[in-house]
């Protein structure tokens, strides 16, 4: 907490220790100290607020709130109380209360610049743009400082941006903002660069590009100095909008002469050139070509401009830029697209790319540069191209194994580049199995040979030849996918282990490949900023039964997203303070993008499901868990229509040919895949909430409160959620029938397909349908419900059968040993997880069934006693329920036994003893063995966690007795 400045105020001195306690996290002492102080000084309001902060931080939210309100109603005007309340409200996530606080304060002290400014910021935090506009103006009237005036203008712009009605923005908010700025311009009161920026923003949004251009080029534009080339960039943008291609062209020319490596201006140069050609633009009879100088409006001029750039570049002794050479290729592409014969004048692409390779082939980016121009070739040129490039790769004489190797890192990089290009051209994919194995051998030789150049590399540096290793791993995967040969997979994992042992910082070796087979410890991954890692980990950890790891990564993601929600507002406020107006809409869009993140919704949903599966009704009752996560079955908090896929898939290195690369269709499919799965999970979660509410209906005493928390479920929501779940299941089934395969280095499939094939979705649906019928039975009673009872009994029976079927699908060896080879069957683990999840749900539902049947049974017994009847038949529903509970018991026993036997056989399995085909070198065998050991221990860990959970669940069976 910020230290307060005024030392002379005795209250500050008195409060000091409380601040210190709070700052040090000693909330208890803070509360005590505050109590002590309040005994002596009843009216020291701030002490109360500080006590409230202490209470809030120790989890006593309600008390804290009541105490804070005691002070807030007094409408305090002392700095201490106001600031403390602001902090408290922020921690309570109630920023709207801060606005109330300062509204009162400015009412009482209308001339305070400080309070007005706090009020403005408080509005900014909650996005009340109209009130911000007024608060800014009020501030300016008290203290006529320019920033305040422009805060008000910016708030008008924000009203325009956020208005649903575009017309309102264009005819009211923006013109008003424009007039406000114009007034200042006329009075010559414009002071800061930020003010000109804002003016520019307004004109741009109004589409007044001519006026904007005048501002940028006029005296006001001289203030635009912070950003480099700010005026030029703005002019360029406006020329494009105004379609002033002559100026656009001339300015690109000028900027390219200054920096012949800036790609964006080549693009603009070409774009404008062809527009001018299409318009048959001709220079004016006299005077300059354009406001920006000379214009190129013919192919010939463009060709000579390119050639001049290259001549200039060639004349330089060192540090050649790549821009001019690549721009020449880009021009060829564009001329060819327009079928211009002049394209030939620039040269043959194959030769030009060869020359480029000669110059830049030893740079790691050479592959990225040339890759985008590979489509200039016809397919029959591919081999020729690669052969031509090999001429410029200095390699030594072939060794015993027939592989010629480079003598230094530059030669290595050149060879690597050709290899990468060859993969990009599809040449590696075209090889048969034998060819691919030969290629792997060669790549490995290059990899191991290259390690000698990196002997002095630090731990934080990568090996020069790492990419060979990764590529060989990719080829192994190609082979595995083609042939289904498990050995290829083991060798791939072994090779990645080998790579890691020499280059522990290379994240690519850790990337998702191993995840398809097993889970590995999170700590071995480098932190990425936007949750791609957590996304993958949650996906795999959970489905493979490593619940602790899954929880951990969900938590990590949620912390990230929650702090984003809080933090972004602070930076919006900062942007106002520093006049970074153009960043404000950007921050708001960023916040929305994160809030609508698919992964955020996934992490929220999976986190809650995990908590329930792991804890509910074992360590705490289901209704407690549901309540503590404020799960509300009626409420759907996922923004389905605007879910954003924020995964950064580009982080995975691949040199696959274009037709095997990740494309938009894959991305779309993956988003749909994940969304469907999320929908299923979210509906399941809400249905569990319903079951909990049914089992423990809120008692009348605190019913008001529970309803407020949303725990009370109406039967209607159960019905509607069930039919939604059914619909989604149908959609999901249709979706999985499409069976689109993702590229291996790309998005990972959701759990949908495996879940459907395990039968868990259908089984969960069946069990969740039970409560509906039980509700009916509760109303009808036992006496006149024979048909209903038969129906329920049949449901119980069918459920038992479905569960048994699911369990059968879990049976089998996780590491199947056949013909002296082992085959990981992780889908068995996944099925086991689905079985356990389903068991949890079935147990909760059964618990509810028990709670309905128990009173029915006891009233029946009472009746019997009264009538003194000698035993009659038990009503069918009661016996069916009892049968069902005992079959559950036997199912769980079977499952536990299966897990135990798997644990025993896995532990006993000596994978290293299996023959590793084709692996003679003992060192290599060690790496493969390391990979195998990792898989083995990962599976064991999964089994342990699943087994423990299942045991806990089995213990709750006795509570089902009626």
């Amino acid at each position: 907490m910020a230290a307060r400045g005024h030392v002379q105020d005795p209250n500050d001195r008195r409060l000091r220790p409380i601040y210190d306690y709070l700052d040090n996290g000693n909330n208890k002492m803070a509360i005590q100290q505050a109590d002590k102080l309040l005994k002596k000084h009843k009216d020291l309001h701030c002490a109360k607020v500080l006590k409230a902060i202490g209470l809030q931080r120790t989890g006593k939210q309600d008390e804290a709130f009541t105490l804070a309100q005691e002070v807030a109603v007094l409408e305090p005007t002392d700095d201490n109380s106001l600031q403390a309340l602001t902090i408290l409200y922020r921690e309570m996530h109630r920023p709207e209360l801060v606005t109330k606080l300062y509204e009162a304060a400015v009412r009482k002290v209308p001339t305070s610049e400080e309070y007005h400014s706090h009020l403005f910021m408080a509005y900014a935090r909650v996005g009340e743009y109209k009130k911000m506009q007024q608060a800014g103006m009020a501030l300016y009237k008290i203290v006529p400082k320019n920033p305040y005036y422009f805060w008000s203008v910016m708030s008008l712009v924000m009203q325009a941006i956020s208005a649903q009605d575009e017309k309102l923005s264009q005819t009211m908010f923006l013109p008003l903002a424009e007039r406000m700025v114009e007034k200042m311009v006329k009075e010559e009161k414009i002071e800061a660069e930020a003010e000109v920026q804002l003016y520019f923003m307004i004109l741009e949004r109004l589409g007044k590009y001519v006026e904007a251009l005048e501002v940028v080029q006029g005296p006001l534009g001289e203030k635009l100095t912070s950003e480099l080339q700010s005026r030029e960039n703005k002019c360029m943008m406006l020329y494009r909008r105004l379609e002033r291609w002559a100026e656009c062209n001339a300015l690109s020319c000028k900027l390219l002469l200054k920096n012949p490596d800036d790609w964006q201006f080549y693009i603009l140069y070409f774009d404008s050139l062809f527009y001018l050609i299409d318009q048959s633009w001709a220079p004016p009879q006299e005077g300059a070509h354009s406001a920006e100088g000379e214009v190129h409006a013919s192919t010939a001029q463009a060709i000579s401009f390119m050639e001049d750039r290259i001549v200039t570049e060639e004349a330089k002794e060192s540090k050649h830029l790549r821009g001019p050479y690549l721009a020449r290729l880009e021009l060829i592409r564009r001329l060819r697209e327009r079928s211009c014969p002049e394209a030939q004048q620039l040269g043959e692409p194959l030769e030009l790319m060869f020359q480029f390779f000669v110059k830049f082939g030893d740079k790691p980016c050479c592959i990225t540069d040339l890759e985008i121009f590979l489509d200039l070739f016809t397919p029959d040129q591919h081999v020729q191209f690669i052969n031509r490039l090999m001429e410029a790769v200095p390699l030594g004489a072939p060794g015993e194994d027939g592989v010629a190797l480079p003598g230094d890192t530059r030669a290595l990089q050149r060879h690597l580049c050709v290899t990468q290009l060859s993969r990009s051209l599809g040449q590696q994919h075209a090889l048969n199995t034998e060819g691919k194995l030969g290629l792997i051998k060669e790549l490995k030789a290059h990899y191991r040979h290259g390690l000698q150049f990196g002997k002095s590399c630090l731990k934080t540096e990568l090996q020069f030849s790492d990419m060979y290793c990764l590529m060989a791993a990719h080829v192994y995967i190609d082979l595995w996918l083609e042939t289904g040969d498990q050995n290829m997979l083991w060798q791939c994992l072994g090779l990645l282990e080998e790579g890691l042992s020499h280059s522990s910082s290379n994240a690519q070796f850790n990337f998702p490949y191993p995840l398809y087979i097993y889970m590995f410890p999170i700590s071995s991954w480098r932190h990425l900023i936007l949750n791609f890692k957590e996304y993958l980990l949650t996906r795999y950890a959970e489905s493979l039964g490593q619940f602790a790891a899954a929880s951990q990564s969900c938590n990590f993601s949620l912390r990230f997203f929650h702090s984003n929600q809080k933090d972004t507002s602070e930076y919006i406020i900062q942007a106002y303070k520093y006049g970074a107006f153009e960043k404000i809409p950007e921050f708001i869009a960023f916040r929305n993008r994160l809030n609508h993140s698919l992964h955020f919704a996934q992490a929220r949903t999976e986190r809650m499901l995990l908590d329930l599966f792991l804890e509910a009704d074992t360590s705490s009752p289901l209704e407690e868990s549901v309540k503590s996560m404020s799960l509300c079955p009626e409420e759907d908090d996922i923004p389905w229509d605007s879910l954003r896929d924020n995964r950064d898939l580009t982080v995975l290195v691949s040199w696959n040919p274009k037709d095997r690369q990740l494309n938009e269709e894959h991305k779309q499919h993956s988003l749909e895949d994940d969304t469907l799965w999320l929908r299923l999970r979210s509906l399941t979660l809400r249905l569990i909430g319903c079951v909990s509410a049914l089992t423990h209906p809120p008692t009348s005493r605190n019913s008001e409160k529970t309803t407020e928390n949303g725990v009370a479920a109406k039967p209607s929501s159960l019905q509607s959620l069930l039919s939604q779940l059914e619909n989604t299941l149908n959609q999901a089934t249709q979706f999985t029938e499409k069976q689109l395969q993702y590229p291996f280095v790309g998005p990972v499939p959701s759990r949908l397909a495996q879940a459907l094939s395990s039968g868990c979705c259908q089984c969960q649906l069946s069990s969740l349908q039970l409560p509906l019928h039980l509700q009916e039975l509760e109303t009808a009673g036992l006496d006149e419900s024979t048909e209903l009872q038969t129906q329920i009994s049949n449901l119980f029976k069918s459920l038992a059968v479905q569960l048994q079927d699911m369990l059968e699908k879990c049976k089998g060896d996780l590491l199947e040993v056949k013909d002296d080879q082992s085959k990981p069957q992780q889908f068995l683990l996944e099925n086991l997880v689905y079985f356990v999840e389903t068991v949890c749900i079935v147990l909760w539902v059964s618990n509810y069934c028990g709670s309905v049947l128990r009173p029915l049974k006891s009233s029946l017994q009472k009746k019997k006693k009264k009538k003194k009847e000698v035993s009659t038949v038990t009503p069918p529903v009661l016996s069916a329920y009892q049968e069902f509970s005992s079959s559950l018991q036997s199912l769980l026993n079977q499952a536990l036994e299966h897990i135990k036997s798997q644990e025993i056989s896995l532990t006993a399995l000596k994978l290293g003893a299996l023959s590793l085909e084709g692996q003679t070198q003992s060192e290599v065998r060690t790496f493969t063995k390391t990979a195998m050991d990792k898989v083995q221990s990962s599976y064991l860990r999964s089994l342990q966690e699943i087994g423990e959970l299942l045991k806990k669940r089995a213990d709750t069976l006795k509570s089902l007795k009626i």
Binding site: E227, D262, R322, L528, I529, F560, A575, A580, T650
Partner: protein
Amino acid sequence: MTTLRAFTCDDLFKFNNINLDPLTETYGIPFYLQYLAHWPEYFIVAEAPGGELMGYIMGKAEGSVAREEWHGHVTALSVALEFRRLGLAAKLMEMLEEISERKGGFFVDLFVRVSNQVAVKMYKQLGYSVYRTVIEYYSASNGEPDEDAYDMRKALSRDAEKKSIIPLPHPVRPEDIE
């Protein structure tokens, strides 16, 4: 062969390839937003023709003008592995220096791990010299010892006599630096 432009929030979604580098720190989102809100002109990204992000620089202006300590500071500079050895870092540094010149800074400074020899060498080539050593500036998370930093400086034209870069005779502690 690079597009140099202002870093925007959306770039945070795709700069992972740069930050995979073991010596590049990945900060929390607030840290980046703070820079974007306060010094947007100092946050520049380089983009390849294919759209990949190649590298970025993030900096700020700070210090007292009266005490002749107003200067540009390099907070982060990183280039993706495949775009190294192209002079991109030098280009980005040049831009940051130019911005600092315009703001009337006396010098530009930066902190670098003592062990990061590649970077230290590069900064020396760009005209930077070690002004002081900061003891245990980088805290290690995995039980390894904390690491020292070099505070490296380069004088700008406003400091014609290069007073700002005269090396301190003794190392300092992190709490002693402003």
